[in-house]
Symmetry: C3
Subunit: 340 residues, 3 copies
């Protein structure tokens, strides 16, 4: 495996400053790169490493090229160019084909000959697995579910019945799609289970993180649109709708029937209350709780940054009585200015 | 499949206003219902959809019946009535019986003939699986564990050794019951593992969500009483005790030896500190941190709602010095009223 | 199984006050102990149970020994001594050896004859499983991964390719190690996947909780040093580095490239922002959000304790306008003291 700098610059669409015949066989960080590696500079936090890099070349924005001691491939978006370069230099493992003898296949399934059903997978009746889709092993695919072409289900993924998954969807280990929503009706102080009869619809080019769970709809489907990226340990409740190309970081919880727009970014550990709408192009920062609909694009926050504990305790003690404190202020204001 | 409106009204105990012979074969939301479907109206958020519904009938409270353009089944609790109706109209898949040849069964197990042990299940020695209980596939049941009658373990559920599970318990994919608690003793700056020798006792009619984990007790058992409902991605630490019919939403973390009362509701993303008690009939709202025992029923909160980021930053900057601000206020008060 | 009090006191290094020939065959809490059990007193919350205990003996600190009605083993650190005693009195199940016939083993693997590969495990090509390591069942070990000696992988653990795991590492059910990091580059409003080419390096004596996930590095490795203890439901993002003997409680989320020092304690539900450093010996309390590097040892907090909901709402309403309130205070101060 190896490409020349000239080939790489052509493919990723950058301007090469250096020897086009230099062969690149690895990608590496600025600190760890050697003369066979290409690196990239995209986060100014790592500027100190740029001037000492031993990389064969660095993918970089024009304004920083002068600071780089090595060959450069100059481009407006080095991180995107790097992502393309890395996929070429370190290609993913070749797809496998066929059905491992230990897999258990139901009736009336349509498993494309170019798909791979790994060891100990359980495929229930009526499942479709389309061209090239890879199931690493230990996956469970429930009745009448379809996984379209080009997908990759890592080990021990569970997809329940009646789930519809688009093309080129990547699902990381331990993720669960289509489990019952948390639907409970209260009757005489007891909870009655409400049947969860909807499905899950997942678009194309979606990625779903390890141990993330996405519940099926109560009646209509839970919907994840094209290009959505979900990190690990996320909870998506029944009938949530996530718009195209929205990215959601780890440990986020989204309550039932929340509707998140397109091109949103939701920070890690955030919580979204149910039955609300978030507009397109909204950013929610980490550990924020969204309790009402957000109707305009912008950045929204309520994550509370840490303080030294004794400061925090003092401040929080005041917060516990903040309303009283505000009333005391008001009293002073009235006293000084009675007509107010 | 199909019941008449008359039959449905009888079974769910509502008053039918409409044609008792109309045949219902599906359930649907107000928006998506057609002339073969029954719908329900329980959340006034969806009032706008009521007047345009094409449902054959709507399950509804008496005070809203007039707004409904179609037949109605009138009842005090439409959500409960709907849950019953849905279970009749769309019955769950028929239970299976037997042991799939790929399952691995230990010695001295008692697996009822009416139970189903799906593909690739691993049943260790001394396990009891009682009448009708279904293990979908890929489940692991540790030594000497018992799952009582009528249970449903979805795919890839792990129950460790010595766990006792009641009747009609539903466990969703990827849930883990009986893993070791986080018991560590510090010795010379290192952590020594404390053996986790208790078990887990789970009552009847409990439901446990996808990828939720419940640790075994350190010495005594972790206890989940009858009728408790746990959503997805919840962490229940060792020796937690959750009282009857308490419902806990997704992403909640409960620390060791916390004791939660009966009929409580814990909102999503809440955190409960260890070694405390929460009384019966307590509601904890989303993303709240409970740090002390709660001794009276009521609603408790500390989840912080989002603001526009620049407002949030300005307010938080003040919060960081709230104690100082309170002192400044006090100083003014003293100045204006020295005898205070 | 059974040891005498004399043997126990010798092994755990405590001073016995009582009959050295008394045989102990169980461990129990102070409340539940009987005349064949040893108990311990380490948390003063349980002082009330000490005087009524029916235990054969209690492991206890010297200053509380007088309050104990039974024999005692006196030691400076009863919890450590108890952990040792418990491991002797209730030894773990004997290790198994061999490869279960249902396991699927790749090419060029080196599986030590004293290791156990349980039912339905999937071992891909080039995997090393060293002496004595136990894989309970349903585990997936990706290509070229190594698990060193004395490890215990509980059921349904997934370790992806190219992961390096030290000696005596315990991994609880459903944990995922080496899944892809959440690396995305934005191009024209869409997300391009950035190949995740690093691995995960896990030191010796690490413990990893149920359903926890640890992502592989983007280029360099994600690193978990010796003696680190991770509870359940934790998310460790790509290129995180966790220093020796740090303990992290459940539901914590750690963002990419965060570097956590040695001997830290991170409370449950905390969130750590990416690309920052936390010094050694730092304690972060529960549900705190760390947004900046912490450079000094100490305790840091931002978890907000619950209040009765109506108090909370009143206080939060003031918080929403805290900046304004501070300005009003400043205006009063200026009015009373114009030269300020």
């Amino acid at each position: 495996m190896g490409l020349t700098l000239g080939e790489l610059a052509d493919i990723i669409g950058g301007e090469l400053q250096g020897d086009p015949n230099c062969v690149i066989s690895a990608v590496a960080t600025l600190q760890n790169a050697d003369s066979g590696s290409i690196s990239f500079f995209a986060n100014t936090v790592y500027r100190k490493h740029l001037q000492h890099t031993a990389a064969a070349a660095v993918i970089i924005r024009p304004e920083f090229a002068k600071e780089c001691p090595t060959a450069t491939i100059i481009t407006a978006n080095p991180y995107v160019a790097y992502a393309r370069a890395a996929a070429l230099i370190v290609p993913p493992a070749s797809p496998r084909q066929g059905v491992h003898p230990s897999a258990s296949i139901g009736r009336n399934c349509a498993i494309d000959a170019s798909a791979w059903i790994g060891p100990n997978c359980i495929i229930e009746d009526g499942v479709h697995i389309d061209a090239g889709t890879q199931l690493a092993g230990g996956c469970f695919i429930g009745q009448d579910t379809r996984v379209r072409a080009g997908g990759y289900l890592h080990a021990n993924v569970v997809i329940c019945h009646g789930v519809n998954i688009g093309e080129r969807v990547i699902i990381h280990p331990g993720a669960v799609i289509g489990s019952d929503g948390f639907g409970l009706a209260k009757e005489n102080d007891r909870w009655l289970k409400v049947p969860q009869l909807g499905g899950v619809r997942i678009g194309n080019d979606v990625e779903i993180g390890a141990n993330t769970s996405i519940d099926r709809g109560a009646l209509d489907d839970t919907v994840i649109e094209d290009g959505v990226k979900l990190d690990n340990q996320i909870q998506v409740a029944h009938n949530v709708h996530i718009g195209e190309h929205t990215a959601i970081a780890g440990c986020v919880g989204i309550s039932g029937s929340a509707r998140i727009g397109r091109h949103c970014m939701i920070g890690g550990g955030a919580g979204i209350v149910g039955h609300l709408e978030i507009a397109d192009n909204v950013t929610v920062t980490g550990m924020t709780m969204v309790t009402k609909s957000i109707t305009s694009p912008g950045v929204y926050s309520s994550g509370v940054p840490a303080q030294e504990n004794s400061d925090w305790n003092r401040n929080y003690a005041r917060f516990r009585k903040l309303d009283q404190l505000a009333r005391r202020l008001q009293a002073l204001e009235r006293r000084l200015d009675p007509k107010d």
